[in-house]
């Protein structure tokens, strides 16, 4: 199978003031690949995937996503964001809109689709995340797990080529994590390219093609999950895994 890279990071660095959040990050994500990024908090995982759709601008190095080089204010950044879906830790649904409106506002206003077409797509994805009956409610009336599934559907409605997940289950009550992960597993089975920042190692083991371990703004290890979970190459990854798998 020919590998087409969709995200290419070369020596990417990022500062917040004097603090160096990312140092020399090299990473290639191929089309259809599922990459799970893990690491202790503050290791730069979120910053890295936020750079992938330009919510943060990297300061050094090169970052190409979907054939376009990202730069601050580069023309085409908006186009790029339409093709890169993002799911946030805090869901970030639009509270003043109904669930259905949350899903169709992007396709209608950004992609200029007709309401009928946008609604048809929206209902299809609501079906897929298993909450078609909630279409006319407001986000605040839904549980956290349902809200996050809506957020996934909202991103999918834009027909993205890559999906980024920034700790999608970290803000959820334990009993709701499963329903969100199930949806993500199904999405992975459709062949969607996914980059997921998460601490859910069970999920990672199930869907990841590649595990990325970060610490202190650097990528410490990139390996396939079989190796990563059984015999991690780096000492630090081993310590990290011991800590989170203990419980």
């Amino acid at each position: 199978m020919v590998q087409t890279p969709i995200i290419i990071a070369e020596g990417v660095g990022k500062y917040f003031g004097d603090f160096k959040a990312l140092t020399d990050v090299d990473l290639i994500v191929n089309q259809g690949e599922r990459v799970v990024i893990c690491g202790p908090s503050g290791s730069g995982k979120s910053t890295l995937i936020r750079c992938f759709n330009g919510l943060e601008n990297h300061d050094t190095g090169r970052l190409c996503v979907d054939g376009m080089e990202l730069r601050e204010d580069a023309p085409g950044m908006r186009q790029l964001r339409q093709d890169v879906g993002m799911v946030f830790q805090q869901f970030n649904l639009f509270p003043h809109l109904t669930i259905l409106e949350n899903l169709i506002i992007g396709p209608m206003k950004v992609r200029k689709q007709s309401r009928a077409a946008a609604e048809a797509t929206a209902r299809k994805y609501l079906e897929r995340v298993r909450i078609p009956e909630q279409a006319d409610k407001r986000p605040a009336q839904l549980s956290g797990g349902q809200q996050q599934r809506v957020a996934i559907a909202r991103a999918l409605c834009m027909q993205p080529r890559v999906m980024l997940f920034d700790e999608p289950t970290s803000a959820l009550d334990p009993e709701m994590i499963g329903e969100v992960l199930d949806v993500m597993v199904e999405l992975a089975e459709t062949g969607m390219t996914m980059v997921v920042v998460t601490h859910e190692m069970g999920f990672a083991r199930k869907v990841a093609d590649t595990m990325v371990f970060m610490e202190a703004g650097r990528i410490v290890e990139v390996s396939p999950p079989e190796t990563f979970f059984t015999a991690p190459k780096s000492q630090r990854a081993r310590v990290f895994l011991d800590q989170i798998l203990e419980h």
């Binding site: 908006r78 186009q79 964001r81 946030f88 970030n92 639009f94 003043h96 950004v110 834009m158």
Partner: protein, 289 residues
Amino acid sequence: MPSFLKRLKWADWLILIVLVGAFGYVGLRLEGTLNYTWRWELIPDYFIRYREDRQEWFANLLLQGLFATLRICIYAGILAAIFGTILGVARCAENLTIRLLARTYLELLRNIPPVVIIFIFFFFLSQQLIDALNMNAWARGIARSDSAPAWEFFFGDMRRFPSLVSGVLVLGLFQAAFVGEIVRAGIQSIPKGQFEAARAIGMSRSQEMRYIVMPQALRKVVPPMANQFISLIKDSSIISLISVQELTYKTVELVASTRLIFEAWLTTAACYFILCFGLSLLFRRLEKH
């Protein structure tokens, strides 16, 4: 005894007695030294009077003034809301020039006394605009035409239309600065995640404001906006200085022609109070729903 009287402690009684005493003393002094004859019975006539010669009721000075105040406040309120929203958005703009312009406007208005601002706006803005548009001639034309009554319902005496425009412009632009601050606070109260989510689905800055941020921000600023509208009603009395014939101006006229100094001013105070307090009760009730 009503229950609130039982809740009063001796210190509360002391305060109340001192207050009543102070007011009583001022009242007695007025009676004794000023030799003022109260003629409250004349006041109702200055609201509404029956004209024997024409056999009809007509609105006299105070009621005319009250209507004028209401008209001016409604139009100025609309102007302030529109311009203020633009200012508030401009304060949050990415473009530095736009942000600085909005900031400059606000700081000028915040650091110059309202009376001075009103004169400056009057001479340099509304007077110029009225002259440029030849509004005087136009309004006089309307006043003479057949359609005058319809116009007068909305704008009062059409011969006074330019002065109404002045008042609305001056008051609206003045209040817009404060509305702008309210709107800015509303925009900044929207969580960062909302902006990011909008951007993540590829929205432009303007789409993000229009579809995501502003609908939420405007809903949040309704209560402070309502309070600002009440401020606007109170501040509207300043525009009597540029000869806009609203309630305060009419009161000055009334005092000059009748010498009902205390009665007229107390009545006008009551009018403003009832209007503003009534609105604030109304807004508070609406807010609960």
